[in-house]
């Protein structure tokens, strides 16, 4: 098996604006935890530490930062939403 896997990262709100795209394709080491993706984003997109309330969805279901990634996974970085 190849040492790296491909994952799609879905971006929303200010992340999408900073990236100029609604998703990024990243190559990461196999079994990288979901929570490690932030540090792998281009600097222009992440620009600093993640918000405390950042949540993650893996293939359209909520997941924890420790969930390991597999080839072809789609991860959404779910920034805090302000209802109202």
């Amino acid at each position: 098996m190849p040492p790296e896997i491909s994952v799609t990262v879905r971006l929303f709100a200010s992340l999408r604006e900073a990236a100029g795209a609604d998703r990024l394709l990243l190559s990461v080491p196999r079994a990288t935890p979901v929570g490690a993706l932030w540090a792998l984003l281009p600097d222009t997109v992440s620009a600093g530490s993640p918000p405390a309330a950042l949540r993650y969805a893996l293939n359209h279901e909520w997941t924890s930062p420790g969930a390991p990634l597999r080839d072809g996974d789609e991860v959404a970085l779910v920034l805090p939403v302000s209802g109202g």
């Binding site: 709100a13 604006e17 969805a57 959404a76 779910v78 920034l79 939403v81 302000s82």
Partner: protein, 145 residues
């Protein structure tokens, strides 16, 4: 089940019609509309962006919970895209055999939707600036026209 997102203006009549039931004597509706907030910083519109797949799942789950808890049939539609001040951004309807359950279910759906649906707001201010309300510290796009 009328549940989901819409890029078109909301039609409360259609949302209410979706929960009509000949056994349900109470039907409550709610519209959430854009506030101007002139005393704070005047808003002229809000641009909504959703994580559509997960929003749909969450809204369906909320509707099923409302059915189980209140015996209600519910509908909920949230706008995406730009919504002008005073225009509705979300419409909810709930019907139940009696009014108490209809009101309770309607309230339950809007309260849960606000917390659980991954839908972001980009404020468009009268002074020309825009701002994503997504919990990030920002410098960009705070640019008065």
């Amino acid at each position: 089940m009328m549940i989901g997102l819409s890029a078109e203006p909301l039609d409360l009549g259609a949302v209410a019609a979706a929960v009509r039931d000949s056994e349900h004597g109470g039907l409550a509706t709610f519209l959430g509309c854009i506030r101007r907030e002139e005393a704070i910083r005047e808003v002229i519109a809000i641009d909504y962006q959703a994580y559509e797949e997960l929003t749909q799942r969450e809204l369906v789950a909320v509707a099923e919970e409302a059915a189980a808890r209140f015996g209600a049939t519910v509908a909920a539609v949230h706008r995406i895209g730009r919504v002008e001040v005073s225009e509705p951004s979300v419409a909810v309807a709930a019907s139940a055999p009696h009014r108490a359950a209809a009101f309770a279910a309607c309230r339950y759906v809007i309260d849960e939707l606000k917390v659980r649906a991954p839908i972001w707001k980009r404020m468009v201010y009268a002074d020309g600036a825009t701002e994503w309300m997504d919990g990030r510290d920002r410098v960009p796009d705070e640019r008065p026209a």
